[in-house]
């Protein structure tokens, strides 16, 4: 790809910047808080401080629980905070605030509270950051009612979903697969006010023999695998859910009902993964259509090792997806 065409493409960090800028311009209740925003260390906050001022752009001290709780309270009192937690491995310190406050306050107070909060966190695996920076913890949050979760695999989707998330009156967690920050995640620059509604999957490729549901980088791998399988005469349909909660079950069910086979590609740890949920749900609701085992391609149940000699093998790969698809035919 030449520099010229690449310049016309939207990247992940630009998508975030654009979504945040557009929505903060549109609605002055939206504020942005995160570590190192003013110095723009992560690269998605360029120009924000100049444009929106220090009251709406705040650098957070290191206090994850406090930060999420502050966002919950600010939302209950009329703001629409975006919290940039930077790396998804930092969510754990705030888990009580996610579960006990953000997810439950509306329900427990009988609908009195409204919590329009967006929390962004990058899935920072696959890059030698080792066990403390490489978590993919979204399945934990799927187990918590009251939270919505998006996990886009292209920059245009990220832009459109993030804007929907900021407008949503519910807490939305946005997980960004850092492996898509570069070339893999780029896409055509959408028109002004590009919106992708929450809860709608994208069918990346149509096919008839097997359905591959791919999450985050998994969607990219699924497309690669589908191309390889096509050469072998296997026609794979690739679905990117984009939103994990609420999941677009109709699109997945319709596809599996046609193909009779399912592979789910999910960068999360295997046990109790999003892939587990999708497989379980399909085994429950599409059983009669099934013609082969439901196969999950996930990260192996181990921690992320530092050594470049160890790390890559534990994640989903195109080859693992291809092998999984073949397994559904045995």
């Amino acid at each position: 790809m030449t520099t010229a065409t690449r310049a016309k493409q939207l990247g992940f960090l630009q998508a975030i910047n654009r979504a945040q800028t557009e929505e903060m311009t549109r609605d002055e209740r939206v504020i942005l808080m995160g570590q190192d925003l003013r110095a723009n260390v992560f690269g998605a906050a360029a120009g924000a401080l100049e444009k929106f001022g220090p009251s709406r752009i705040r650098d957070l001290p290191l206090a994850e629980a406090g930060s999420i709780g502050v966002a919950a309270g600010a939302a209950m009192a009329g703001l629409r905070p975006i919290i940039d937690l930077t790396v998804a491995s930092f969510v754990f310190g705030a888990m009580d605030q996610f579960v006990s406050q953000l997810a439950k306050a509306r329900y427990m107070f009988g609908g009195q509270a409204t919590l329009p909060v967006v929390v962004r966190a990058a899935l920072y695996y696959h890059g030698g950051t080792a066990g403390h920076h490489a978590d993919r913890p979204y399945p934990m949050f799927m187990n918590v009612p009251g939270l919505k979760i998006i996990l886009p695999s292209t920059a245009p989707d990220l832009l459109g979903l993030l804007k929907s998330a900021i407008r949503d009156d519910n807490p939305v967690l946005c997980f960004e697969d850092a492996n898509l920050w570069g070339r893999k995640g780029r896409g055509p620059i959408p028109d002004a006010d590009h919106i992708v509604p929450l809860g709608q999957a994208a069918v990346r490729r149509t096919g008839t023999d097997v359905t591959i549901v791919g999450i985050g980088l998994g969607a990219f791998l699924a497309e690669q695998a589908a191309a390889e399988l096509a050469a072998d005469g296997i026609s794979a349909e690739v679905i990117d859910p984009r939103t994990l909660v609420p999941m677009d079950w109709p699109t997945i069910f319709e596809s599996v009902t046609r193909t009779g086979r399912l592979v789910v590609v999910d960068p999360a740890n295997r046990t109790c993964s999003a892939a587990s949920e999708i497989a379980a749900r399909v085994a429950e609701d599409c059983f009669d259509a099934l013609r082969g085992p439901l196969v999950r391609v996930t990260t192996d149940d181990t921690h992320v090792p530092f050594s470049p000699a160890l790390e890559k093998q534990i994640y989903p790969s195109k080859d693992k997806v291809v092998a999984a698809v073949r397994r559904t035919f045995v």
Binding site: D27, I31, S55, R56, R58, L60, P61, A63, A65, G66, S67, I68, G69, V70, A71, A72, G73, A74, A75, M76, A77, G78, L79, P81, D96, Q97, S100, Q101, A105, R106, Y107, M108, F109, G110, G111, Q112, A113, T114, P116, P145, G146, K148, R167, D168, D169, N170
Partner: protein, 341 residues
């Protein structure tokens, strides 16, 4: 050092215009908390409560003195000992009582219950059964007030037990660096269930932690409603003036067991000491006697006020009793807000 007011002369707060009304409102709200909770004891013994309740009896002066230093447009968060806070903030008793019985007319539609009351109409943003967990929420409400420039203040209740939770530290630090209009208010009743404050806190006074966040900290006599009011009012003034957060600690007493009716296998405090509290540090009696001594009200007037509150509570109990339960579907609503901006 614990600050009390001097019982001698009529205090300035009550001598000025509206002073008598303030004094009577203090007494009214303390009576509301007391009689509301006395009623829950009756309901408990009658087997009408679906769950245990944590009573604020003995702590009314702390709760009411603090809340009356704020207005209903100000924010407040509390904890599991959850009845007193919204009552003191001005919430209607009927919807609170209905909530305790899990009724559809409850302030949370029956979904919250005793430990999780909230009444947004009076700025009560909800209590938390997870101890300490609402502290950052109050801090965030203060942030919203600051960003919106609304002049509102957030009042954040927590106990001596909660003072050991990390979110208190994180919240006080954020509030201080951003000069948020929030008042951290510790009801130090000496116990976290069975563990004494001496054992769980590493300092004699929780207020000694304030200096670590460059905010003023003061410990007041929590049985003295005026002392509590004064200290909180000063903290509220600071907050509204943009001078940032404060920490107010009220030393108080929990007259009943941690949860009413709870049986603790190994006693951790002497019943005779507890009994003596009723005689010597009952905040309602103390305030009653001062009001009479100061000529703010007569015993008869105070009795009449108590009777009024009793009718209010009786009506609340009746309202709660006759209210319907929510329909089963209600279990599945309010998980999300359906219609969005």
């Amino acid at each position: 050092m614990t600050v009390s007011t001097e019982p001698t002369a009529l205090p300035a707060e009550f001598a000025c215009a509206g002073g008598r009304e303030l004094a009577m409102e203090m007494m009214r709200r303390m009576q509301r908390v007391r009689l509301f909770e006395e009623a829950t004891k009756v309901l408990f013994h009658a087997g009408e409560l679906p769950a245990m309740v944590h009573l604020s009896i003995g702590q009314e002066a702390a709760v009411v003195g603090a809340c009356l230093a704020t207005g209903t447009s100000d924010y407040m968060t509390g904890n599991h000992r959850s009845h007193g806070h919204p009552i003191a903030k001005g919430a209607r008793l009927d919807a609170l009582m209905a909530e305790l019985l899990g009724k559809a007319t409850g302030v949370c539609g029956g979904k919250g219950g005793s430990m999780h009351l909230a009444d947004f109409s009076v700025g009560s943003l909800g209590e938390s059964g997870i101890v300490g967990s609402a502290i950052p929420v109050a801090t965030g409400a203060a942030l919203a007030a600051q960003v919106r420039g609304s002049g509102q203040v957030a009042l954040c209740f927590f106990g001596d037990g909660a003072a050991s939770e990390g979110v208190l530290h994180e919240s006080m630090n954020m509030a201080s660096i951003w000069k948020l209009p929030v008042v951290y208010f510790c009801e130090n009743n000496g116990y976290a269930v069975s563990v004494t404050a001496e054992e769980s806190l590493s300092v004699p006074d929780v207020s000694m932690r304030a200096a670590g966040y460059s905010m003023p900290g003061v410990t007041v006599d929590g049985q003295d409603v005026l002392a509590v009011y004064r200290a909180t009012a000063e903290a509220v003034r600071r907050a509204r003036a943009g001078e940032g957060p404060s920490l107010v600690e009220a030393k108080t007493y929990r007259f009943h067991e941690h949860a009413y009716g709870l049986q603790v296998p190994t006693p951790y405090r002497d019943q005779s000491v507890v009994d003596s509290w009723f005689a010597t540090v009952d905040p309602l009696t103390l305030f009653h006697d001062r009001l009479v001594a100061w000529d703010v009200a007569t015993s008869q007037e105070l009795d009449a006020l108590r009777a009024e509150v009793r009718s209010e509570v009786d009506a609340a109990v009746e309202f709660a009793r006759v209210s319907p339960f929510p329909p089963p579907e209600a279990a599945y609503t309010d998980v999300y807000k359906e219609v969005t901006a």
